[in-house]
């Protein structure tokens, strides 16, 4: 057994740490306040090769492994969750289905500009009436004369409406199916498709600089060849995608928690009450000790899931365990980080207040804590 990162993984980690510290962290407060999508940071991440990190070079990617990708997301989330989710959703949700299920032609056309980070892409599963129950999709697509005609609505879609978004892959009911279950397929819907529109950005509690919108399809027409993968396998394809996505959201939780912890540690050493630094109080020391213990535990789980994926093992269970645990750890950590800051932690000038708001979605997106427990129980054969 070997817990050391490879030389290459260490180099990627230190590159992302430097980028996050020098370019992302100083901007995070302002981006959050103005709900400003960080186009220039996305451009830099593209130049560094992060936007296509795990994809092969022949598709415009950097050919990195999942461990490196998880490390990258952790480091960026340490500075800012909005930037981290923009990267994570782009790679794990936007580009991955095209990589896993696309034809060579679809990959050349759609995946390459995404892996190069020139364009962004959305993953359209959730609907107003179909969240945890993702199979309850109401969006319908009918094949008429070689054209899919799509009608319906998608909710909360990340990266779906930026100036550089090229399109979204959606789930839609494409037929009656069997056993009373509708046939669900994935369709590639480019941004310029007639009848496809995006709402204004949602006003959010956290991840405020990320781009999240509602999508509407009114007789939106795409060619028959825009079917992604096998007809009728849309839901399975998206669930497979989400297995990998959990590793990156888990990494985001760990990075965010570590960022909040570092702020709390620094503050505890500086803040003096009763004639000494508050870090001298055992009550504060124990909080910090618990925070670090839990963060390191979660970090190991995330890296284990990433490693399992890299060596070709079944990683679905570990990824769910990591996602659930790190999401809950991040909540406890941001809560105590604010507590250690006292009243100052409630003030927007202090980064912990942003970490606190940014954290909650970690327990909701890409499968809520409850759904994660369902998935884990199912894997246990219950």
């Amino acid at each position: 057994m070997d817990f050391d990162l490879t030389e290459e993984q260490k180099a990627i980690q230190s590159l992302c740490r430097e980028f996050a510290r020098d370019e992302v962290a100083p901007r995070a407060e302002e981006m959050d306040r103005n709900e400003a999508f960080p186009y220039d940071l996305v451009r830099t991440m593209a130049e560094l090769g992060l936007m296509g990190l795990p994809f092969p070079e022949k598709y415009g990617g950097a050919g990195g492994d999942t461990v490196s990708y998880a490390l990258a997301v952790m480091e960026i989330a340490h500075a800012d969750a909005s930037t981290a989710i923009t990267l994570a959703a782009h790679v794990s949700l936007g580009a991955t289905p095209l990589f896993l299920f696309g034809t060579e032609e679809q990959k050349a056309r759609y995946l390459v500009p995404l892996a190069r980070g020139e364009r962004l892409w959305g993953f359209g599963l959730t609907e107003p009436g179909a969240g945890s129950d993702a199979g309850a999709t109401q969006t319908r697509a009918v094949l008429r004369d070689g054209t899919w005609i799509i009608n319906g609505t998608k909710a909360f879609i990340t990266n779906s409406g930026t100036e550089i978004t090229a399109g979204t892959t959606i789930t839609a009911v494409t037929g009656d199916g069997t056993n009373g279950r509708p046939e669900i397929s994935n369709l590639i819907v480019p941004q310029e498709t007639p009848g496809f529109t995006r709402s204004k950005k949602y006003r959010k509690m956290g991840w405020r600089a990320s781009d999240t919108r509602e999508l509407s399809f009114v007789d939106a027409a795409v060619p028959e060849e825009n079917l992604l993968g096998v007809r009728g396998k849309g839901l399975q394809q998206f669930l497979t995608t989400l297995d990998g996505g959990r590793i990156s959201v888990a990494a985001l939780s760990v990075g965010l928690a570590a960022g909040a912890y570092d702020e709390a540690l620094k503050y505890a050493k500086e803040r003096r009450q009763f004639g000494q630094a508050i870090s001298k109080f055992q009550a504060i020391q124990f909080k910090l000790a618990d925070m670090l213990t839990e963060i390191e535990h979660a970090r190991l789980m995330v890296l284990r899931a990433a490693w399992e994926k890299d060596v070709g093992r079944d990683f679905a269970l570990t990824a769910s365990l990591a996602k659930l645990y790190s999401g809950e750890v991040s909540r406890r950590v941001v809560n105590e980080a604010v507590q250690i800051h006292g009243g100052y932690g409630f003030m927007e000038e202090y980064p912990v207040s942003r970490f606190y708001r940014d954290q909650k979605i970690n327990e909701i997106g890409e499968g809520t804590n409850e759904v994660q427990r369902l998935v884990i129980a199912r894997q246990m054969g219950l």
Partner: protein
């Protein structure tokens, strides 16, 4: 054009540092080693020159450091340099500035170069003397404190910073140039660069390859560290509480008079 960049490996600039009172040397265990931040500007200048010339020019990284520094040298390769040479030998330990420059010069003669780029100073010993001494030992022109560098056919055009302005000079290689932080903004290594760096060659040189004519390391040091001390902790300043600006101004004037400064 063969461009060689000299880079020093230094303890992490942000880490707390400690001197071992016995050896009077910096304690390097437990501290991460990084590229001397000043040298990243020299690497960037080299890469920009290579890209601009686009004529098959190459960039070689040179460092005198223990072999354990290989991983750090890869960062310089990941930024885009073509290959690297490391001069490593336990006998180099304890070299002073003259010894360091003498050994480096011998190695660099072996490596060969048209343009030798250095940083302005290290962040550990901070003497800023190596570039000057190196130029002397090599017998090439040494242009220090360069903040602008362009290549113009056979010539290199450099702008040197001075206390009051700048000097424009043109020079024909071979030449040594040390650059300041205002010359550029060093790039991050890209992922492609990181992945590619492991395939690039890092050549090793030892003292036995150089045929030096005098001792280096502790034995050859012409300087000796006699004592080391931390600067005194500065005492608290005098705090005067006043009602308004006028009262404050007269308090300052009184203080300066008392010190016989006005």
């Amino acid at each position: 054009m063969k461009i060689v960049v000299t880079v020093k490996l230094v303890p992490d600039t942000n880490a707390d540092k400690r001197i071992d009172p016995g050896t009077k040397r910096l304690v390097r265990t437990g501290i991460e080693t990084v590229l001397n931040p000043f040298d990243e500007y020299a690497i960037e200048a080299a890469l920009q020159l290579k890209e601009k010339r686009n004529d098959g020019s190459t960039v070689t990284i040179f460092t005198m450091a223990p072999e354990t520094g290989k991983e750090i040298v890869r960062k310089a390769l990941a930024m885009g340099a073509d290959d690297a040479v490391m001069l490593s030998d336990p006998k180099l330990e304890g070299s002073d500035v003259a010894g360091t420059s003498y050994a480096m010069a011998a190695a660099l003669k072996k490596v060969g170069y048209d343009l030798l780029l250095c940083g302005t100073q290290s962040t550990d010993a901070i003497t800023g003397e190596v570039p000057g001494m190196l130029a002397e030992y090599l017998g090439v022109p040494g242009l220090t404190y360069v903040r602008k560098l362009e290549s113009d056919g056979e010539l290199l055009k450099a702008q040197r910073e001075t206390e009051t302005g700048y000097i424009d000079v043109a020079v024909k290689p071979p030449v040594l140039i040390s650059v300041t932080k205002s010359i550029n903004e060093p790039r991050y290594p890209s992922l492609k660069g990181i992945m590619g760096a492991k395939k690039k060659e890092i050549k090793s040189l030892a003292l036995s390859d150089l045929g030096l004519e005098r001792a280096v390391g502790s034995d050859g040091a012409k300087t000796e560290v006699i004592a080391l001390a931390s600067p005194d902790v500065r005492g608290k300043g005098k705090v005067v509480t006043v009602a308004d600006g006028a009262e404050g101004a007269s308090a300052i004037v009184d203080f300066l008079k008392e010190k016989k400064l006005i």
